[in-house]
């Protein structure tokens, strides 16, 4: 396969991933790395490097829209980014120390977990909860627009949320993914933020978290311009089309199919890692 053919193939896979990611709201980054490794035989480090950069593109593009709509809580995002960026640098360092096989297994397990999460529907957070004293000190509570006017919410479990964010950052730096799933758990379950706020704030944080590991990746030579170019452009084109096609709607059947694809890739990654094929 020459450069032209490989570029076209990678761009096509990335566009499909970005398209499905935007339609299902799950982010397309998670399936690009396994697809490149398993289908095209690309080394895991190059695949992780390329995907990480594409994650910055989709997150920033989507965040631009969400921030203007007023759903993202910038104070919560900034505060938690301390944990995610430190975690990301830590994870990116760890990635260089861990063998491709072990990395593949960890990747597969995280993918499997994300697939399982995406198959469940999220329960509504309690209408009223006491504010965490730390949240009061940091003025984390906020409001978001609703048809009935601005709705106020309080913030709980700041310490637990912060610790979980460190884990999310580490996974992001280790695997070159956005770790949106872990971020949303930290904000949904621990801090009990409203659904829209946790989703958009998580997305807002992904770009900064990924930028923190990108510096380490760049210096270690994981980011190949020739390979990253079709991934970034493909994912961007795919996710813009996906967002245009279905503004906000998240069809359930499509979510299931996407979850299934992620699960199959996850198992394949774990198998390849365990049998030393990576």
């Amino acid at each position: 396969m020459n450069v032209l053919e490989l570029t076209a193939l990678v761009a096509l896979i990335s566009a499909a991933a970005g398209f499905l990611g935007a339609l299902t709201g799950l982010g397309g980054g998670v399936i690009i790395t396994p697809a490149m490794v398993l289908l095209l035989g690309i080394d895991l480090h190059y695949a992780i490097g390329a995907t990480l950069v594409s994650v910055i593109a989709t997150s920033s593009g989507a965040a631009a829209a969400y921030v203007r709509e007023g759903f993202s809580n910038i104070r919560i995002g900034m505060f938690l980014e301390i944990a995610t960026t430190v975690g990301a640098v830590f994870g990116a360092f760890a990635a260089a120390r861990i063998s491709a096989s072990a990395l593949g297994v960890v990747f597969g397990v995280v993918l499997l977990y994300s697939a399982w999460l995406s198959s469940r529907t999220r329960g509504a957070p309690p209408a009223d909860q006491p504010d965490d004293p730390l949240a009061v000190r940091l003025r984390l509570s906020g409001s978001y627009p609703s048809p009935q006017g601005p709705k106020h919410y309080k913030v709980g479990g700041v310490k637990t949320g912060f610790s979980l964010m460190f884990v999310a950052g580490t996974l992001s730096g280790l695997l070159g993914i956005g770790s949106g799933a872990v971020k949303v758990i930290a904000m949904d379950r621990a801090m009990r933020l409203p659904f829209k706020v946790s989703t958009t704030t998580s997305n807002f944080m992904i770009g900064v978290t990924a930028a923190a590991s990108a510096g380490v990746y760049l210096n270690r030579g994981y980011i190949d311009p020739g390979l990253t170019m079709p991934v970034v452009l493909g994912v961007l084109a795919g996710s813009v089309m996906g967002a245009r096609l279905l503004a906000g709607a998240r069809p359930k059947a499509l979510r299931r199919v996407f979850g299934l694809v992620v699960a199959v890739l996850a198992i394949e990654m774990i198998y390849s890692g365990l049998t030393g094929k990576l």
């Binding site: 450069v3 080394d43 921030v67 190949d224």
Partner: protein, 126 residues
């Protein structure tokens, strides 16, 4: 708090615009370098099966900027990717200024910590 010279909503709008134009600009640079790269190397056979690591020219920000000055296609793509990576960093840097204008010292400190981690990773870590 008295009247802040910049409201939260204005901050949101500026951040939104910053992210949008950052992504558009970097995608354009990457596409430009990409077309050139394909014209120049399209028929060669790449090797991504074995991880060798990238050469020095595309690994540090200083060298990448030098590569753009030397009109190398891989350097131009990499420069576009660095612009993309710099987009969220610029967002954080702007937030420092915005919180400072709002005289919100706690958040100036929080944002400076995040900015320091980012700059450490991008510039100092070699």
């Amino acid at each position: 708090m008295g009247r802040a010279p910049i409201s939260d909503q204005q901050v949101d709008e500026i951040i939104g615009a910053l992210l949008r134009y950052g992504v558009i600009l970097s995608a354009a640079v990457v596409a430009l370098g990409g077309v050139w790269y394909l014209i120049q190397y399209g028929t060669t056979v790449p090797n991504y099966r074995v991880f060798l690591g990238e050469p020095k020219e595309v690994r540090s920000i200083g060298a990448i900027v030098g590569g753009v000055a030397g009109f190398q296609c891989r350097g131009i793509i990499q420069f576009g990717l660095v612009l993309l990576i710099a987009t969220p960093v610029a967002r954080v840097a702007f937030s420092v200024a915005a919180f400072a204008l709002q005289r919100d010292n706690t958040y100036v400190a929080i944002t400076l910590i995040v900015l320091a981690v980012l700059l450490f990773s991008l510039l100092i870590m070699h």
